[in-house]
């Protein structure tokens, strides 16, 4: 006859009002009597796994990869934007709340030509901006480069097109906004944790010497002006192979 386990009793302390009622993260809760706690409670991000494009068409993806590879070219310092997975990162981001501006205030009236210091005043969300921008870019390169798409151009032409977009010399609607959108997302993808699909093998972090998710740098403070030698670590560990069961 085994003696009673306390484990079961932990769950029932709620009955005598010493723990929180269960609830989803956004559900109203009433909490009194103790700091709530549950086992196995953590909210990690969803691991992005390589696979078919979820937002981009194959053509769009090829163009975004090529743009990423010019914004951050492959060289002796490390992978370029394409091999780093920036396009994969962007593809998955656009499928989520970021892509649809789900968290933003999107009530009308909109004044899209407001001065820059008023911030975003256009109703165009990032997903829309990519769709429209890539279509407009495709139209432009087909027209200017004998029917070819961006990824089919040589590097010099690609750089020229990007510079044109950046400065507004290439007249596609919202061209500057599109360029800025892509550039900021490519940088995000290059330096974000690899769990989000980019920064493959922590190439971005290795470029600058950022050790990743490490949490204890007291030895750095104790050894001023010395190079840091431990390898970077990501949310999934030292290797980017999925570490969890």
């Amino acid at each position: 006859m085994e003696n009673p386990t306390r484990r079961q009793l932990l769950a029932t302390t709620a009955a005598i009002g010493t723990a929180a009622l269960a609830g989803t993260p956004t559900q109203a809760r009433v909490i009194s009597g103790a700091l709530p706690w549950s086992p196995n409670e953590s909210y990690p991000p969803t691991l992005v796994r390589p696979g078919p494009w979820q937002f981009f068409t194959a053509e769009e993806a090829a163009v975004v990869e090529a743009i990423a590879d010019r914004l951050i070219p492959a060289d002796e310092l490390g992978a370029g934007g394409k091999d780093a997975g920036c396009a994969v990162f962007i593809d998955r981001q656009l499928m989520g709340p970021y892509g649809s501006n789900e968290w933003l205030y999107m009530e009308p009236p909109f004044v899209p030509d407001a001065a820059a210091n008023f911030g975003i005043q256009s109703p165009v969300a990032p997903a829309r901006r990519y769709r429209d921008g890539l279509a407009a870019l495709a139209a432009h390169t087909r027209q200017a480069f004998s029917g070819r798409l961006f990824h089919q151009l040589d590097a010099e032409d690609q750089d020229r097109v990007l510079t044109g977009l950046e400065k507004g010399d290439i007249k596609i609607p919202d061209g500057k906004a599109f360029f800025n959108q892509v550039q900021s997302n490519v940088v995000e993808g290059y330096f974000a944790d690899p769990i989000y699909g980019g920064n493959k093998d922590m190439c971005g972090w290795k470029l600058v010497g950022f050790p990743g998710v490490r949490y204890d740098y007291r030895d750095v403070i104790d050894n001023p002006n010395k190079p840091y030698t431990l390898p970077p670590v990501s949310l999934m560990g030292r290797s980017t192979k999925a570490a969890a069961r």
């Binding site: 009194s32 550039q183 600058v208 998710v213």
Partner: protein, 589 residues
């Protein structure tokens, strides 16, 4: 149909720093307390554990811990003749949301305002003459002196365990501290943080220039500490995921790490999360609060009767609630009358970046929110303003809060924005760059204020708060002055190339600047120019008290939280020792 709940003694709106301190102290005093927080419950192991917290994209770029503009935002215009537009995506400031409030994900810089800051109007007139005050200013003396507030600063610092070196201990200047600080009655509760390499260069350069650098007071603790509530904290490990992140190892002072463990033991305290207070309810004559109305996550409406209502939300939302509830007369810039919304102010940021070239290992990733060496020689009225023609000052600091690469990948001036050269510059510059920054005061003005927007509404159909604000010539001059001082220091540190960051004018909502939004429901001695009396009690509705930076008549050259905490204990003291007995206005005119 609104459902009515059983009455509580105290209803607290918002469970951040001041809400949790009020809740703990009043529950300890035996009162029945409920705190209603519109965001979610958050705690260390579940929401910012070491396995999930160090994620720059999620927390710093996508800003998961913050208020979503969709739930509530503000509209902004610079000038009275403009139409305000909604801040559709927060940039310049990031209002908090959830249990812990801003105190959960702040940097931890914990300052006391200087004695002159509390009487900046009188002092400026005495020293420079009334004409020296900027045009259209609403600068007011605070309704208490630094000396009166000093014991409450001390109390707040001890609850947090702030790490620092006293500079002026009971009139005696102490080596290693800030010789310009207001007199302290006691040491800091823990010793100052160990400084980084960059701070050592700053300290040497500034000292050689005849300035007085000192370790910045920090709520990232230097050692294990047990506060007066019996709650224990760990030492900071310089992880570099401080501001905008929860702390995974109990080393950053926050309501979670300093107050909630003691608060949650009281069975006479209840916390309701994901519930938004929509209104403070008043009696028919408008002179007494009867409680609050709130909606839960299903938008069901509830009435919570209470004898005392404490408005402890973020500064903006305190003001908005007062406007929506009819507590105090709304300010009208045309007539100059009214008090709720008046005296809105912000913070000035300006500085210089130094590029040092190869051979340096600044290791910016080893950072902490309050790690830094600071100096006050150009703050408050610590220097002669006469030749410069502006009022106010700034604290100047060299700090490393982080080296997170999505946001931090500096390049020297003239580098292209992308491509192979950009990539190489990023590679070479990351570890050889540091900066000196100034955080400066903003005065209050007739045309810097908050009111309700005529057009844009929140999801519940209520008008958004409208901000009318721009940097006035006074602040622009001061920022420029500070930018030059910062440049001099960073050059003296050994920088080969220096680029300066000027104050952006007109005020823009786009890049992050600071979330030090002050004023709108200020404390004062005169009900014509303040919404609250010196104890934070509404002049109009005596059973309503308001805490937070919304109380500041104007802002000083520091982060506000230290002063917010001191005022909270000051107000609490008045409630416990006076209001609970008398239940009357505490200031008779």
């Amino acid at each position: 149909m609104t459902r009515r709940l059983p009455k509580k003694d105290v209803a607290i709106i918002g469970l951040g720093w001041t809400g949790s301190i009020m809740a703990l102290e009043l529950a300890k005093a035996g009162l029945d307390v409920v705190a209603i927080e519109r965001g979610p419950w958050r705690d260390t192991a579940s929401d910012f554990s070491i396995t999930t917290a160090p994620d720059e994209l999620r927390y710093a770029i996508r800003k998961e811990m913050f208020l979503r503009p969709k739930q509530e935002t503000l509209t902004m215009r610079n000038k009275l003749d403009q139409t305000a537009l909604p801040i559709r995506q927060f940039g310049s400031f990031l209002p908090p949301n959830g249990v812990g409030g801003g105190g959960m994900h702040w940097n931890g810089q914990t300052w006391r305002f200087l004695p002159d800051d509390f009487r900046i109007r009188s002092h400026t007139i005495e020293r420079y003459g009334a004409a020296f005050l900027p045009e259209n200013n609403f600068i007011q003396d605070w309704p208490m002196s630094y000396a009166e507030l000093e014991p409450f600063y001390d109390r707040f610092e001890k609850v947090l365990g702030v790490s620092g070196q006293a500079g002026n201990l009971r009139g005696q200047i102490q080596p290693g501290g800030n010789p310009l600080e207001g007199e302290r009655s006691d040491h800091y509760p823990t010793p100052p943080m160990k400084q980084g390499y960059s701070q050592s260069l700053f300290t040497k350069a500034a000292t050689d220039m005849g300035l007085h650098p000192f370790p910045r007071p920090s709520a990232n603790l230097s050692e294990g500490y047990t506060n007066p509530y019996g709650v224990r904290m760990a030492p900071c490990t310089y992880c570099g995921f401080c501001e905008w992140f929860g702390c995974a190892n109990y080393s950053k002072s926050s309501p979670q790490t300093c107050v909630l463990p003691a608060l949650m033991r009281y069975s006479n305290f209840e916390c309701r999360t994901d519930s938004e207070v929509t209104k403070v309810n008043l009696s028919a004559d408008g002179k007494r609060a009867t409680g609050v109305t709130f909606v839960d996550s299903e938008r069901t409406e509830w009435e919570q009767p209470a004898d005392i209502v404490l408005i402890c939300a973020f500064s903006f939302f305190n003001v908005r609630l007062m406007l929506l509830s009819g507590i105090g007369k709304p300010y009208d810039p045309a007539s100059g009358e009214g008090v709720v919304g008046r005296n809105y102010a912000y913070q000035v940021g300006a500085g210089a970046v130094g590029h040092f070239g190869p051979g340096f290992n600044f290791n910016p990733f080893a950072g902490a929110g309050s790690l830094g060496a600071a100096l006050d020689n150009f703050n408050s009225d610590n220097f002669d303003h006469g030749p410069h023609g502006f009022v106010g000052g700034a604290s100047i600091t060299n700090a490393y809060t982080n080296g997170r690469p999505i946001s931090y990948h500096p390049v020297p001036p003239g580098t292209p924005g992308w491509g192979a050269k950009w990539k190489r510059a990023v590679h070479e510059t990351y570890n050889s760059t540091t900066n000196v920054g100034a955080q400066g005061s903003v005065m209050s003005y007739r045309d810097s204020y908050l009111d309700l927007d005529p057009t844009y509404k929140d999801p519940l159909g209520r008008p958004l708060l409208r901000m009318t604000f721009d940097y006035h010539p006074n602040e622009q001059k001061m920022a420029n002055f500070m930018m030059q001082r910062s440049g001099e220091i960073v050059r003296a540190m050994g920088a080969k190339q220096v680029s300066t960051n000027a104050l952006r004018v007109p005020y823009t909502v786009v890049p992050y600047q600071t979330t030090h939004n002050t004023g709108g429901a200020v404390i004062g001695d005169d009900p014509k120019t303040s919404a609250l009396n010196r104890y934070g009690q509404s002049w109009d509705v005596p059973n309503v008290f308001v805490t937070g930076a919304s109380s500041f008549p104007q802002n000083a050259g520091y982060n506000p939280t230290g002063t917010v905490g001191a005022l909270c204990y000051w107000t609490l003291d008045a409630i416990k020792s006076q209001y609970l007995k008398s239940e009357t206005p505490l200031v008779q005119l």
